[in-house]
Subunit: 277 residues, 2 copies
Amino acid sequence: MNDKEMLHNAPIGVFDSGVGGLTVAREIMRQLPNERIVYFGDTARVPYGSKSPETITRYSSQIVRFLQTQQVKAIVIACNSASACALETLEEETNLPIIDVVRPGARTALETTVNGKIGVIATEATICSGIYKRYIEESGKSVSTISKACPLFVPLVEEGLWEDPVTDEIAGRYLAELIDSGIDTLILGCTHYPLIRSTVGRIMGEKVCLVNPAYETARALKQLLEKKGLESEKRPGLGTELYRFFVSDAADKFQKFANSILPYGILSAKVINIEEF
Amino acid sequence: MNDKEMLHNAPIGVFDSGVGGLTVAREIMRQLPNERIVYFGDTARVPYGSKSPETITRYSSQIVRFLQTQQVKAIVIACNSASACALETLEEETNLPIIDVVRPGARTALETTVNGKIGVIATEATICSGIYKRYIEESGKSVSTISKACPLFVPLVEEGLWEDPVTDEIAGRYLAELIDSGIDTLILGCTHYPLIRSTVGRIMGEKVCLVNPAYETARALKQLLEKKGLESEKRPGLGTELYRFFVSDAADKFQKFANSILPYGILSAKVINIEEF
């Protein structure tokens, strides 16, 4: 295999503070079936949302250095907090193409809205960071954003209650004010939320268009790889390690959650000491 | 004020990974109204449950060093994970009397049970650590423990749903197998759980005795101070800073939660850089 082939066949590095970014990895598997993936979940230091921007940036730099040891050809920041705080520093520190999980969703919401009212649901940390609001309002278009933190959605998803009367009840309470506000577009601004997409969609009703940033991020990655001529040319054969998973702690729990959402079984997730990078 | 008076009037140092330990502080306020308290909540590094024993011990040592700069006369570890991992190291590192939040509850459960079947509910991390089970079984008494992790209780409590049909529904699911097992005593093995004590009590029924480790810890502290002759002799006067609160991040959120559960309003929580200690 020559250098060019090696580069084409190199994996995509995807990282998150924990398991949430697996919804992004899942979309990459669906939309770019020829691509290899190296996923890192920082399960020892999760959650990032409550940490300072400096700390989140430092952690993200460590992770990118680790992913580079795995010869990745591009980086996907599948974590809202890291997208909000670390993108610029990471772009300075590496020459690899980088996609974050916030901007593709914000862009699609701007293209989708007709009445100019965009809703954002996310964790408290993401809402407080104001990142979606900032990206949307920087567009210069005449749009307003209505944000709502939904702190129970992540624990409900991690408990597996994706289709459950309790999740319906909680979602009904969180979403009531968004329905009243007359939005026509709603961004699922947390990587866990695609897993309760159907519950949110049912409550919001058919007239509200849901934007799934995991889907949009995979689409943006596809465009970027094509533009840079970096696509993998053929699907790796049987026996090739298509997807590899690394975590900083608690591999068993990660593996269990990953196996519940990914189309392919994960045979193992390897624990590494991320602080060494 | 002479040295002896200063020692008597010195505060109790109480710490937790976040807000949960406030239920322990609240019991100390109730049972020992003459005592001053310095509380530290490690809100930047919460949760401890998912971290390694070495990391939890290192963090706990830093906190005890900080509390010593506040001239505390005793330490209360109001955090299950730190109680499980760090107690012995802390006892080696300081001469101050130390009370943890696990052993007092385990002792009371052993004294309370008649049929020898003790239930423990806690976070996944505490259940996996096996700490309650170990303390109870080390007693040598012929008892069995039935443990159940209840991952949604902490987020439900932090969302303020202490009396809510959703909490009833979730509690009903978690507690069903404990009811079936025939326990007569149930330890609320997480510092958040006293806030949903009445829900748990209603579901378990009158025949099951609930053990509240926060209450038992305050009681053990009272006994320890009496034994060592360290009690504060009189209630500090008006204008004296009876209770002081420090956190490592997000003081506003801490303050809001603290004000919702403590009998006295918190005027402020000060952010410190705990990594300097």
